[in-house]
Amino acid sequence: MALAFRNGTDTRRHDGAGGMSAFERARRRLYLPFVIPALLLHLAFVIGPTVAALWISFHRWDGVSPMEWTGLDNYTALLKDSTFRTALVNTLVILVVAGLAIFVISFALTMVVREMRWKSFVRSVLFFPHIVSAIVLSIVWGFIFQHNGAVNTILDRLFGTEPIPWLNADNLFIMILVGTVWLSTGLYVTIIMAGVDRIPPYFYDDALLAGASAVQRLRYVTLPLSWDVISVAAIYWTISSLKIFEFIYAFGGTTNDLPPPGVWNSALFVYGESFGGRSPSYLFGYASASAILMLVLFAFLVVGLRRMMRRDPIEF
């Protein structure tokens, strides 16, 4: 058994050019040609629009007329906007509640599936919802859970229960949370299982011989040895949870109509205040301000999460 804690600071080389091999120097020279195309694309399609959004956020702008400078007005108005506050809370609830559920279920499934015979088949089945378009799934989800849908019909046949209003205003957001968990879990099972698969079986054999229970095996073997994968997955979830859009849009809304503002997350808010709805608001400055606020908030969250999840890497 070989376990070694690697000192993180050792991984970066600070050698002067004199200490470099010819191969290393050649690699350095190739660095720029490889990076520049990606950097240019990134500048044009990510950094540029982000800077533009920041600039737009200080204006009142309908997308066409000249922009009217309003300073921080959009930001102060946002803080007083109850729809924005709801969208913010919904975004954080999706991040935390759905995130916790996804990781707990993913771990549970990983533990079960890794010891199954048809492991790869089951893994594919679990991954399936992630491949299918969120819009298609949300439509199916909507029809299954509506008043006269399959779920209420089955419940009625089996237990004679009255139809449960799964999709009314009280329950719609909960259904969105459940749907989001269902859509995303397969992906995280796959990521976490890839990390767990790397753990040599003799650690588990050893733990079993030592009399470790399943929970102890999870705590002392699986978690520490797949921690780097988990932390990457957690950050990936944080970022992707901010961008969840199609599922809420198609599940809560219709052809021309936005979902009710009570279930908007920040992505829906940006869309609703700019292009969305039967009669769009075209409030590009306001929408940009909300996008910038969320960008800042999530940047803090990601940095905080990285710090929180930082561990000395373990080599095995």
Partner: protein, 434 residues
């Protein structure tokens, strides 16, 4: 109706596109763009929709008759959103179409439209009358900007009425309800007979809004609801007329007159149930028969009546779909020619005969299932659906009025709570507008 694919990050992409296209436009030479022998048309219809097929026929004939090429793109309902991005880039279409408020909202307030007064003066090819002659001035309220400029030429008219099956409800057909009391008596009859009174797909907040906004227009007169929400002090909500209208709506939920599951179904489940006879009434635009027809029994007879009165107003809530020309369009002349060409009686008639919708020309026969709506269009004064609030104050409408209205219509808030909350939120809203 179809779900349109929305992609996450669309806003970021749009900004990127705007940035890139704006940059590109700065350095490009626009002089080569457009000519009078061709025009680009971004249609609100998808290619397979009946209206698209009618327009496509007209385009073919127009190209043959005039030698002008029409580059049509069947963009669907997103066409105006795309127009907005194009207006930044400079490569705008010459002709667009949509409901009046969608176009007004996008290009009238910011003066990005071509005034169409000249088009109204044009003679319709093949007929001895002008576009203005062919259209009644009843539709001016939908086609004219505040300063009197025309921004739209309508080719389809929508009337909003309360639909029912005359085969199942012969008494209603013989004596349609005129007042709210007449109407609630019918609802009580339905309930006593074990039927549901009203079908409503409440997941479309705009459909639920039709009920309350029309009730408010009935109580306050056309323009009254719009004025109510335009008031920064939100002073008008706590008045006897408004209370009466809101109470009427509240009673629909309290009396359990809506079909079960109306607040927890997915469109179009409930309107389909209505077509199958599970509820008596459906308040809907004149597209109702085409949208529900395939689910209705063969003997189903589409009839409708005007929204019942709650005071003296008996205007017909309506809307129009029409053509507009964006301000910077290079092919405005060719687009104008096409508009006048399409308004010809023979070419416009298939909107009625093939697409089963109403046209703005009174001399075109109407589909039998729309006879009642047409009669109302001719005989009543018109008001804008939602009193124009959806177009004029869309942010307020979407974020404040529609959600609160749904709460009222599902029995979650009382009239008192509704008034208190909407007045407070309306004041905040206007304060935030600076």
């Amino acid at each position: 109706m179809r779900y349109r694919v929305r992609r996450e990050g669309r806003v970021a992409l749009a900004f990127a596109l705007m940035l890139v296209t704006a940059t590109a436009a700065c350095g490009s030479d626009d002089s080569a763009a457009g000519s009078s022998d061709e025009l680009t048309y971004w249609s609100m219809w998808q290619e397979k929709e009946p209206q698209a097929q009618v327009i496509a026929q007209a385009i073919e004939a127009f190209e043959q008759d005039t030698g002008i090429t029409v580059n049509v793109e069947w963009q669907g309902r997103d066409n105006i959103t795309k127009l907005l991005a194009a207006l930044r880039g400079g490569d705008v279409p010459d002709l667009i179409d949509q409901q009046y408020f969608t176009i007004s909202n996008a290009i009238v307030g910011n003066d990005q439209f071509t005034p169409l007064g000249d088009v109204y003066d044009m003679e319709i090819p093949g007929e001895d009358l002008t576009v203005a002659d062919a259209l009644t001035d009843k539709y001016d309220m939908f086609t004219t900007a505040d300063d009197g400029e025309r921004f739209l030429v309508p080719y389809e008219v929508i009337g909003y009425t309360v639909w029912y099956d005359a085969t199942a409800l012969p008494d209603v057909a013989a004596n349609p309800p005129a007042t709210w009391d007449d109407f609630t008596a019918l609802l009580a009859d339905a309930k006593a007979a074990g039927r549901s009174g009203i079908a409503l797909d409440a997941d479309i907040a705009g459909y639920a809004e039709y009920w309350t906004s029309t009730a408010l227009v009935r109580a306050l007169g056309p323009g009254g609801f719009n004025e109510l929400v335009s008031d920064e002090e939100a002073a008008g909500w706590d008045t006897p007329e408004v209370r009466e209208a809101l109470t009427a709506i509240e009673q629909l939920a309290a009396g359990a007159h809506f079909i079960p599951g109306y607040d927890s179904s997915k469109f179009p489940a409930v309107q389909t149930q209505w077509a199958q006879g599970d509820a008596d009434f459906l308040y809907m635009g004149s597209w109702a028969p085409t949208e529900t027809g395939e689910f209705a029994a063969p003997e189903f007879e589409y009839r409708s009546f005007n929204f019942p009165t709650l005071g003296s107003d008996d205007s017909l809530p309506a809307s129009v779909i029409g053509f507009a020309i964006p301000g910077p369009a290079d092919g405005a002349d060719a687009a104008s020619e096409f508009i006048a060409y399409f308004l010809n009686k023979d070419r416009l008639s298939p909107i009625s005969t093939d697409a089963a919708n109403l046209t703005p020309r009174a001399d075109i026969d109407v589909p039998p299932q729309l006879a009642d709506v047409n009669e109302l269009l001719q005989s009543k004064s018109l008001s804008k659906i939602t009193d124009g609030v959806l177009g004029d104050h869309s942010d307020f409408d979407t974020k404040i009025f529609q959600p609160l209205n749904l709460e009222l219509m599902t029995g979650r808030v009382s009239v008192d709570e509704f008034i208190e909350q909407i007045a407070a939120q309306q004041r905040d809203y206007w304060e935030n507008q600076g």
